[in-house]
């Protein structure tokens, strides 16, 4: 049975305060990295599914909280 | 691997230890056996340089329910209940990966407590790092505090106390000692000894991976190439959610009487767990590695036997009850598998799909390690450095502020607010509300107090007197909340015992610990030893961390360390012979050297009783022991805590021989700063110092008199509120 390998990227919605992203961004110059901005920290879920049909539903229902997060499905 | 070096040496065994193993087996050990011996005969597991010394410690008492040798110690708190407790170190893993090192330290000590059937109800942590101007030390501090919070908070056990010290000698060897307190009905408690040949060995909890194997990787049959380090991780990763399920599962199994015995898996994993269970029970054990649930495929037998994957427990179960046990594990969503059998004959056998791949007498593995005598020799002087951080000619105000702001003395609020200190609804005194944590035991109708203490710098000045001081300080902290000590646990963190100076420190410290416990009548119910804490700059300060649990009858009569109302008299109870030797002030002046005055142990003990009884009778508004930073700091701390100043004069204390500066900032055990009704204080024999009131800390001390506003004192004391 063919397996679909997928990677779901979940990131904070634009406009929502992302203190983790900010903290990382602020720490970069001290570590020698200049010119990096708009850092956001999110989550990544990898899975194998028998079919890609219900992946979006899975994302909407469980993997992401669509009030505060955006998601992107990458099939590999 | 160096060509020509025998494998056993790479694994840490000496030539003579190896010869002894060959003699006991009657042949050369194979790789599986070599791995097992190298771990159980390591210092960490066998205590080969400390076991003989530990025999000096008093371990018996009427209230002792479980003593050293069991997974944790326990004392009787009345009404059929016991309080279990133990402290353990996780120093080396924390220096590598502080978050996981500290987290798994907490996880491990909790398993020791619920392995005897006690529900964990509290945690405390004793931490030591280098000075805060070191980026590395800040990183370790941050990681360790987050790791402790992560694990303790997630599993729902309150972290109610602890201490953090910052001293240069810990820069390359931080100390992370974790303590757990548990509560149990005495009749429900269980021992570790395996029993009943024919009984099943059940492994519960998480699956087994390659955590912690690093050191034994020389035995891998496959060649290690580049990129293969990932296959041999040294860092153990903790999962508090997994432990939470395992904990509930084990307690339910014990409550239903389904287990013959229970043992946690910690250092050296299955090897030590199975070995110790068998040894305690005088039986043998067969382990079938093919039955162990694995997280990674194709693990070799030696890897399975030495893996330090976390959140696993080993139980002995009668065959007829195995299904019930597995059903309860299923309910709690935690893994279970029958992986072996208890046997007669005292052999531990490792099998893979029925074939014996390793075998040795239990006694040889667990008790056969040679114990070494130390070769102590007192060093000729102070072997640690000195660093001046306080300008000469500082005013007494500047000195007080410098001491209040010293990271070792300053408020640890930044750290303890990262811990859930109230889950369980038992916490009557949260961190920094009193000198000891207090937990109510409504089931037993009383309460317990806990304190964990140890000033390595002072122990370095005199390991014998310094250790006695640590024990007395612990007792004093308990007295401040009206508690009487019931038992003591300790973690001995020291340098290399094979060096004469290190041996001397360890030898003298253990004697001090024994003498102090005997004087107090408090038994040692368990503990831990961590040696070889040395870096390129030398050893750590000798750091015997001491923790005591005490009982008190009424949690409503506990007071605290804060001044309560203007007009209350302030007094000093107990012996007061302060000296600047070993003090924080001496450290800041760069003047540390060998030598501590002998404390008046009898007077200190008497003062503890006086304060304890007075607190229980509700006679005092506040009680706070004089320790780091001396009397001036103790007064300032009580003032800051209460949000109200004080006006005292300590010149008459000089009649006891103290110079103003010694009286202000000298350290040493025995003294309590108390406040309350003036007549009451006089009745208790307190030396009156002055009154609570105003918005400044005013101390009359002859030509070293000082006045510091409460606001400024508090600002200094909050120096650790790191972003």
């Amino acid at each position: 049975m063919a397996q679909v390998k997928a990677r779901v990227l979940i990131r904070p919605k634009e406009g929502i305060l992302d203190p983790q992203g900010k903290a990382v961004e602020r720490a970069l110059p001290a570590l020698g990295f200049e010119g990096i901005e708009h850092v956001h920290v999110g989550r990544m879920v990898e899975l194998e599914a028998e079919s890609p049909e219900r992946l979006a539903e899975l994302c909407e229902k469980l993997l992401a909280n669509t009030l505060i997060e955006d998601y992107e499905i990458q099939t590999l | 691997m160096t060509v020509g070096t025998p494998k056993y040496r790479e694994l840490g065994l000496t030539d003579s230890e190896y010869e002894l193993i060959v003699e006991k087996l009657g042949r050369e050990p194979n790789d599986v056996e070599l791995a097992m011996f190298s771990l159980l005969w390591s210092e960490h597991c066998a205590y080969k340089h400390s076991r003989k010394l530990l025999g000096r410690l008093p371990t018996e008492g009427e209230r002792v329910v479980m003593g050293p040798g069991e997974n944790a110690g326990a004392v009787d708190v009345g009404s059929g209940y016991a309080v279990a407790f133990k402290v353990e170190s996780h120093n080396h893993p924390s220096a590598v990966e502080p978050f996981q090192g500290a987290a798994t330290g907490v996880g491990g000590i909790m398993r020791d407590v619920f392995a005897i059937g006690a529900r964990p109800i509290a945690l405390l942590d004793s931490l030591r790092f280098g000075e805060l101007d070191s980026v590395r030390s800040r990183h370790l501090l941050d990681g360790a505090v987050r790791g402790i919070g992560h694990y303790g908070n997630s599993i729902g056990v309150a972290t109610v106390g602890g201490e953090i010290y910052f001293e240069e000698p810990y820069e390359h060897n931080c100390l992370v000692n974790a303590m757990c307190i548990g509560f149990a009905k005495i009749e429900g408690m269980v021992r570790a000894a395996a029993a009943g040949p024919g009984n099943s060995i059940v492994l519960m909890g998480a699956s087994t991976g390659r955590d912690g194997i690093g050191g034994a990787s020389v035995l891998a049959s496959a060649e290690l190439g580049e990129g293969d380090e990932a296959k041999r991780p040294t860092v153990q990763i903790g999962d508090p959610f997994e432990e939470s399920k395992l904990l509930e599962c084990c307690l339910e199994l014990l409550e239903k009487g389904l287990l013959v015995s229970l043992q946690d898996l910690g250092a050296a994993g299955l090897t030590s767990s199975a070995g110790e269970m068998a040894s305690a029970g005088g039986v043998g054990i067969d382990i079938e590695v093919a039955a162990v649930p694995l997280r990674e495929a194709d693990m070799e037998p030696f890897e399975i036997m030495v893996s330090e994957s976390q959140e696993r427990m080993l139980a002995v179960v009668e065959p007829a009850r195995v299904e019930e046990v597995r059903a309860i594990c299923e309910k709690w969503q935690t893994g279970s598998a029958v992986i072996g059998t208890v046997t007669e004959g005292g052999q531990i056998r490792i099998l893979r799909e029925g074939d014996v791949v390793g075998e040795m007498p239990v006694e040889a593995l667990v008790d056969g390690c040679p114990l070494y005598d130390l070769d102590p020799a007192e060093p000729s002087g102070w072997i640690y450095g000195n660093r001046e951080t306080l300008a000469a000619g500082a005013s007494p105000e500047e000195e007080l502020l410098s001491l209040l702001g010293a990271p070792s003395i300053a408020s640890k609020r930044w750290a303890f607010e990262q811990y859930d200190s109230i889950v369980g609804s038992r916490t009557v005194r949260r961190p920094e509300q009193a000198d000891a944590a207090v937990l109510q035991l409504p089931e037993a109708g009383n309460a317990i107090a806990v304190s964990i203490d140890g000033n390595g710098r002072r122990v370095a000045c005199d390991p014998y007197e310094g250790t006695i001081e640590a024990v007395l300080e612990c007792a004093q902290n308990l007295a401040c909340v009206g508690a009487e000590p019931l038992g003591l646990t300790n973690c001995l963190n020291f340098g290399n015992p094979e060096k004469p100076a290190g041996a001397w420190q360890l030898d003298r410290a253990v004697s001090g610990l024994a003498d102090a416990c005997n004087a107090l009548g408090v038994p040692v119910v368990g503990g831990n030893v961590s040696l070889y804490n040395e870096g390129p700059d030398g050893p750590i300060y000798p750091t015997p961390v001491v923790a005591m649990v005490g009982e008190l009858p009424d949690p409503a009569q506990v007071a605290g360390d804060a001044f309560v109302r203007a007009g209350d008299a302030i007094g000093l109870i107990g012996p007061f012979e302060p000296s600047l030797a070993g003090s924080e002030l001496a450290k800041q002046r760069g003047g540390l050297k060998m030598g501590l005055p002998r404390p008046d142990v009898a007077a200190a003990i008497a003062a503890c009783e006086t304060v304890r009884d007075a607190i229980r009778a509700g006679k005092l508004s506040s009680a706070h022991d004089v320790s780091d930073g001396g009397l001036a700091v103790a007064l300032a701390e009580s003032a800051i805590a209460g949000g109200i100043g004080c006006d005292v004069n300590i010149e008459h204390l000089r009649e006891r021989g103290a110079q103003p500066e010694e009286a202000l900032f000298g350290e040493g055990p025995g003294g309590f700063v108390v406040s309350g009704n003036r007549a009451t204080l006089e009745e208790l024999g307190a030396v009156l110092l002055g009154e609570v009131g105003g918005d400044a800390v005013k101390i009359g001390a002859g030509d070293r008199s000082l006045t510091v506003s409460l606001a400024e004192a508090e600002r200094a004391w909050r120096s650790l509120d790191l972003a």
């Binding site: 929502i16 903290a23 909280n65 009030l67 | 959610f241 607010e417 889950v423 609804s425 916490t427």
Partner: protein, 222 residues
């Protein structure tokens, strides 16, 4: 009144909640997450802790449990439901309450006593807060709606909002007012031995259905 206190793998404060209900003078029992049976239960507490390890998102997995399905039904029928801390997170994930809880702006778990103001009455409560993800968030339009409906139940008092919650919101109700979510822990403020007893007021008001009387008193922030 009998409270049912849900218990998930990883719940921490369920026994504290049981105890608080009893101290308040009500009966209480634990409800295992796999049970749909709310028989004899007059109100539900979804307790604090780290259900399912907070894995994926706090409350994201717990909200799918059979017990929560039963709670959702009961709530729709008007049963009082009190979600505390992780419980608040579960109720938001389940859609029984508006908004979401995000990571504290300080990026640290913090356990400390906070002062809350009670909307409508102005009463001040001292209650412990202990969480790492307690920053309340909802989009502006939703917030305006909540204010208009009187669904904001509690706010952090001046200087006491350390997690960065929008409009200092510490607790909200659903439209009907029978479901209340609160980030700080009232069940840890019921015993004089362990701190303040102001938390009893929250249980009191829940059991009397007092949060349903909103809408009549406009929030001063609207």
């Amino acid at each position: 009144m009998i409270w049912g206190v849900l218990q998930f793998p990883g719940s921490c404060d369920e026994r504290d909640a049981l105890r608080a209900c009893e101290i308040h003078g009500d009966g209480a029992r634990l409800v295992w997450h796999e049970d749909r049976d709310l028989d004899g239960v007059d109100g539900v507490v979804v307790p604090g802790g780290f259900s399912y390890g907070d894995y994926l998102r706090a409350g994201a997995i717990a909200r799918f449990s059979p017990a929560m399905e039963a709670v959702a039904e009961a709530a729709a029928g008007g049963m009082p439901v009190l979600g505390i801390c992780n419980g608040f997170q579960v109720l938001c994930e389940a859609g029984l309450l508006p908004g979401a809880l995000l990571r504290n702006v300080e990026l640290r778990f913090r356990c400390h006593q906070v002062e809350l103001t009670e909307e409508g009455t102005g009463e001040r409560l001292s209650i412990p807060a202990k969480h790492g993800e307690g920053r309340y968030y909802a989009p502006e339009e939703m917030l305006d709606q909540l204010e208009t409906n009187g669904q904001v139940a509690y706010r952090y008092a001046d200087g006491h909002n350390s997690n960065g919650s929008v409009r200092d919101i510490a607790g909200v109700t659903n439209e009907r007012g029978n479901v209340l979510g609160l980030m700080p822990h009232p069940e840890h403020a019921v015993d004089p031995l362990t701190g303040s007893t102001d938390g009893l007021r929250v249980f009191e008001r829940m059991s009397r259905g007092e949060f349903a009387n909103h809408g009549l008193t406009k929030s001063p922030r609207a």
